[in-house]
């Protein structure tokens, strides 16, 4: 049975169903059992599963990540949550040196089934340290998996797969997606890590993105169709390590034009990876246009007056596509969009 639920509820439901199914799943993080329950994603879990399996934590990100690694080595499947991805930076030592290396450095004698949920913020003046898209830091590391869903349905299926996975999985959520709704099956189901999906079919150009970027790409694709008669295909990567090479190449072979839309800064990032995959695997004659787009290479400022020019959004995407299609047209010349408040469906807090 499907119901219309948002991403936050889908994540909550995935966690609950896994905790019911597997007695060795437990979850902790700052605020997990508090009244706000990590934006609703953990609400009610402590009541259902008790304070041994659902608990708050000291503000000790690196230590607590180590604790989770140790518990994972000794038979458990822990989930850690960070209300902002930036707090996880305090635990990079345990994530990169320990969790990511353990299976390899023990020649497979011990593995680390661990999910670390991290939430990316945006808008309302959150500024330099509460709105970073740091996915490529994690995706750079062999031994980690990095999952970045867009839709509620994918969030649930991918979180279940992440919890069942025998490896450390970095599960990155975008705060603005928590309130997006979709028909989601009530049943326990999985979506394979490392598989993308076609979010919208098209034939003229491929927009390749992930997580919140899909929201902007879908909006752009609608405008391109309605106002400019350009058919843009949108590829939702869903996970960035491992990356679904085949879905990228298949789409590019069809459209021959590619715009990789990064959620973050372009340099050394996911869009760079997408373009490398294409140029490594296809001949020049198969590619008519190839480009990438991302955020301005400065920290995100707090004031909306500047933040509006920081982010890449559907307007910049549409204009870039028009340029790539050799069109002289411009969608909106000046960006008057205040990018600090999300779609109307979003209800705070940030």
């Amino acid at each position: 049975m499907d119901r219309n639920i948002d991403c936050a509820k889908a994540i909550n439901e995935a966690t609950e169903q896994c905790m019911k199914k597997y007695k060795n799943v437990f979850i902790f993080g700052l605020g997990v059992p508090d009244p706000k329950g990590i934006f609703g994603t953990t609400t009610g879990l402590q009541k259902k599963f008790g304070n041994q399996r659902v608990f708050d934590m000291p503000l000790a990100e690196n230590g607590m990540t180590g604790v989770a690694v140790g518990a994972a080595l000794n038979g458990f499947r822990p989930i850690i949550t960070h209300q902002r991805i930036e707090f996880a930076l305090l635990s990079m030592e345990q994530i990169i040196n320990q969790a990511a290396k353990w299976n390899y450095m023990t020649a497979g004698k011990q593995n680390v089934p661990l999910v670390i949920r991290m939430i990316v913020g945006k808008g309302w003046g959150q500024g330099p340290q509460h709105s970073q898209n740091l996915e490529s830091l994690f995706a750079h590391i062999p031994g980690l998996k990095v999952v970045m869903p867009f839709s509620p349905k994918d969030s649930k299926g991918l979180l279940i797969s992440s919890i069942e996975d025998n490896n450390p999985v970095i599960f990155i959520e975008h705060r603005w997606l928590h309130s997006i709704k979709q028909q989601v099956p009530k049943s326990y189901y999985k979506i394979k890590i490392g598989t993308g999906r076609v979010a919208c079919q098209g034939k003229d150009i491929s927009l390749i993105s992930y997580s919140y970027g899909i929201f902007e790409c879908l909006k752009a694709s609608k405008i391109l169709k309605e106002k400019f008669n350009i058919s843009a295909e949108v590829i939702d990567l869903r996970t960035i390590r491992p990356l679904d090479k085949n879905i990228i190449l298949k789409s590019v072979k069809k459209t021959k034009r590619i715009l990789a839309v990064d959620n973050s800064w372009k340099s050394f990032g996911v869009s760079a990876e997408i373009i490398s995959i294409i140029t490594d695997n296809l001949k020049t004659k198969d590619i008519k246009k190839i480009a990438r787009i991302g955020n301005v290479e400065v920290p995100c400022p707090s004031t909306r007056a500047l933040a509006k020019d920081f982010y890449c959004n559907y307007i910049t995407i549409v204009n870039k596509v028009l340029n790539m299609m050799d069109s002289k047209k411009k969608y909106i010349k000046k960006n008057n969009l205040y990018d600090d408040v999300p779609d109307k469906s979003f209800k705070g807090p940030f």
């Binding site: 000291p58 518990a71 080595l73 030592e93 040196n97 023990t106 497979g108 062999p142």
Partner: protein
């Protein structure tokens, strides 16, 4: 007790002889990995591990050889690991700094200072959730007490009342950096542990008898109170931080200090004690040494002759 102590002495001198053999063959450049030898620190490893059961889990750090061997880690697999061979304890993927023997209850060691402390706490948390009362023993050095993660881990161990024996081996140096450039004068690891809510004690890590007694008391406390315990033992490494050589020529350690600790060589202290109890001790010692020499010879030979892992292993084991 005497018989038991004889066994413990054998284990200590076995570790010493293995480490000395590694040092003597290191120049052949066949063991191509950094080695942090435990010579001088054998009493701590041996004394503590003598009080642990196989199912009690031990975690260590960069200077792990003595802990691995004292906990019952397989010698052949350890040496093969140092030689980078396929039959090494982690198939040559870790080297000296990542020794592991899960059968013996010795979890993989790691060289990043302090990193196994929270991992050990997590192992103990898992035990508690499984209603398993085994001890988790975490060896750490004086340097790691300066890491933030040390404090994070002790707080959480205390908060959750976990069965952990923290063993701080204070050898006074972090590589070449002495205490007085790293810690204020009156700083005490034990007091820090106490302020995190742990009980603890300290002692001389040269005397295996003292180590055994302090460990016994600590374990008794843990079992009775279901709470962690912190043991600080002073000890001294006799050779360089990393590598096979004596580096006293560098003069970063005071001669009086070195002499004081050499006089307290844990092997000699144990021998003095045992020879007073047993007139035939030195005859026994010869037998023990001969036996160990044979084992060492065989173990090094098999490691030298073992196969290297084939190229296909490079990409294996990335994910579980």
């Amino acid at each position: 007790m005497n018989n038991n102590l004889n066994k413990i002495y054998s284990k200590m001198i076995r570790i010493r002889m293995i480490e000395q053999k590694i040092a003597s063959l290191y120049g052949e450049q066949e063991m191509r990995c950094p080695v942090h030898l435990s010579i001088g620190q054998e009493a701590v490893a041996t004394g503590v591990c003598s009080q642990l059961k196989t199912n009690d889990i031990v975690l260590s750090a960069h200077r792990a050889h003595a802990h691995y061997l004292a906990k019952g880690g397989d010698l052949k697999k350890m040496l093969s690991e140092l030689y980078g061979k396929e039959n090494g304890c982690v198939m040559g993927k870790g080297g000296s700094m990542h020794l592991a023997d899960l059968v013996a209850g010795f979890y993989p060691a790691v060289p990043i200072v302090g990193s196994t402390i929270p991992i050990g706490v997590g192992v103990a948390l898992a035990n508690k959730m499984k209603k398993n009362s085994n001890i988790t023993c975490i060896f750490l050095g004086d340097g790691s007490t300066e890491e933030g993660v040390f404090h994070e881990s002790l707080d959480f161990a205390s908060l959750k009342n976990l069965n952990i024996l923290f063993v701080c081996e204070n050898n006074f140096y972090s590589v070449y950096s002495p205490m007085n450039v790293r810690q204020f004068e009156k700083r005490s690891a034990l007091n820090l542990a106490k302020s995190h809510g742990l009980q603890g004690s300290h002692g001389d890590g040269s005397s295996v008898m003292e180590v055994i007694k302090k460990t016994k008391d600590g374990i008794k406390y843990i079992k009775k109170n279901k709470k962690p315990f912190f043991l600080e033992l002073q000890t001294y490494r006799f050779i360089e931080h990393c590598g096979p050589n004596n580096d006293d020529n560098l003069k970063y350690r005071n001669k009086n200090e070195i002499d004081k600790w050499l006089k307290k060589d844990p092997i000699k202290l144990a021998e003095n004690y045992l020879s007073k109890k047993n007139k035939k001790f030195f005859l026994d010692k010869e037998k023990i040494i001969n036996k160990i020499n044979i084992e060492i010879e065989k173990s090094f030979n098999q490691a030298k002759n073992a196969r290297f892992p084939s190229s296909k292993n490079l990409k294996l084991h990335l994910y579980g």
